[in-house]
Amino acid sequence: MTRRSWLPKAIIGPLAVAAGITYGLDGGGPGVQVARHVMGALLQLLAPLVAGLGCLTAARAYARGDRERAVWMTGAWATLAWAAGRAVFTGHEWIAGKALPFPSLADGFFVAFYLLLGTALCLEARLVWPVVERPVRRNLAVYGGLAWALALSMVLVSVAQSQASVLEKALAAFYPAAAVLLVPAGLLPAAGFRGGTSAYPWLAVAMAAVCLAAASFGFTSLIRHGLHPAVHRADALWVAGFVFLAVGGFWQRAALEEA
């Protein structure tokens, strides 16, 4: 087994196990709750950093100036933005003593994450657009449009009735709606490279988008009902999303090296 083949497993494996323990177990005394809170915050910070490492690993498989390198580098910057947002969010929680720092400066980084990841996927979609058959493109566009409209309407219906500020409502609508749009954008390259090993990393990226969309829905839903605790099982979806993103990046590199 080469160093490069076990390194991703050695990084992602413990992260997944720690997430399973943190978000899978219930109960325990106050000490256990504090430990879970710390572990949860740590995982939410580490997961995007690992995803960024995966994106960086994939980007380094390409030469400077290659389009694919730009795609993965933009993805790496996106994850870095999310990690920065999580650091600010946790800082507000722990240092400023806010139970739920939403909206806050952290949301600026989270919005940047979605915009950068969307840009990366748009760059990739532009690359593979010509090699995807017209019916597949049409189906993905229709699916993307319907899912986006459904997600937006669901969120809008719920946030419109709340007493939240306009910014809060806008952010609550933006996160899930943006994440849903990333799913077909991730599936398009998978369709373009189908039959080749490059398709699988993009399926992992599409899965990451599914997890992030579900996590966004969970987050906004919990906030709306005033149920957002320090650690909730729905938070595991954020970690899962970034783990899938990391898997996509590492897999892309491995696929190119096995050529």
């Binding site: 390409y62 030469a63 290659d66 694919e68 039959g195 080749g196 696929a255 050529a259």
Partner: protein
């Protein structure tokens, strides 16, 4: 007389290859044809320098695609009681797909390719591998197209895959007295069917990584670029910063 001898040599080789494949050790046998992606299987075997054959057969016919050092060669289709029908790789593979789609079973058999029997060679000079002679004009300017394909693969899939493509192309060309000199492809005049085999062998690593659709569209886009004025068209595209439909 030479033509008759040459013909017999080719026929004997086909028979020997088929016998070797039929008697070889099956790596996989009896796979359900409609569940096997034949293109992916061929690309996989080609990327690993496979020697042997892929057999697709049902109760009415058997089709054999044989590989030599990873290069997919001819396809022979054996209908009941008939002389084998010999097809080139492209149309032959379509025939195998048809056989697979109608319920045929797929087997992969590894075997050593037989050597040329000495009684079919008249002199020591003929023991040297002879480059193919063009009996039909190539329909495309393949050397230039393949140079463009290499550039496009490097640009959108990275230098590693482009290096694999170049290595596979070089190996395929060497058998016909050609090769690559840096980024330039040089080859003697070859028939279109030989170029098809070379292109297939060169693109095998690209198919394995990026899939058949990407590879076919890349070749098609390169063809259009060459047909549309080559470097001038490329410069014009670079100047406006846009690329047309079908340009990976």
């Amino acid at each position: 007389m030479e033509n008759v001898k040459g013909y017999r040599t080719v026929e004997t080789l086909r028979i020997q290859c088929n016998e070797a494949i039929q008697a070889g050790a099956a790596l996989f046998a009896g796979m359900c044809g409609d569940e096997v992606d034949l293109d992916l299987l061929v690309a996989y075997l080609a990327a690993r320098g496979f020697d042997g054959g892929v057999i697709v057969g049902d109760q009415e016919a058997d089709g054999v695609l044989w590989f030599q050092e990873g290069t997919p060669r001819e396809v022979w289709v054996f209908e009941a009681g008939d002389i084998p029908e010999v097809l080139l790789n492209g149309p032959g593979r379509n025939r195998l797909r048809d056989l697979a789609a109608r319920g045929g079973q797929v087997s992969v058999v590894a075997c050593e390719p037989p050597t040329v029997p000495p009684e079919f060679l008249d002199s020591s000079d003929e023991q040297e591998p002879q480059p193919a002679v063009a009996t039909e004009p190539p329909a495309h300017p393949w050397p230039v197209i393949l140079e463009h394909v290499a550039v496009r693969v490097a640009r959108s899939r990275g230098p590693r895959l482009a290096a694999q493509f170049a290595a596979a192309l070089n190996r395929a060309l060497e058998r016909h007295g050609g090769g690559m000199d840096g980024e330039r492809v040089h080859a003697p005049q070859l028939p279109e069917s030989t170029w098809r085999v070379i292109v297939e062998a060169a693109c095998a690593p690209v198919v394995a990584i990026a899939g058949r659709a990407f590879t076919d569209r890349t070749i098609a886009a390169s063809e259009r670029e060459v047909a549309g004025g080559g470097d001038e068209a490329q410069s014009a595209q670079a100047a406006v910063g846009t690329e047309g439909e079908g340009t990976p």
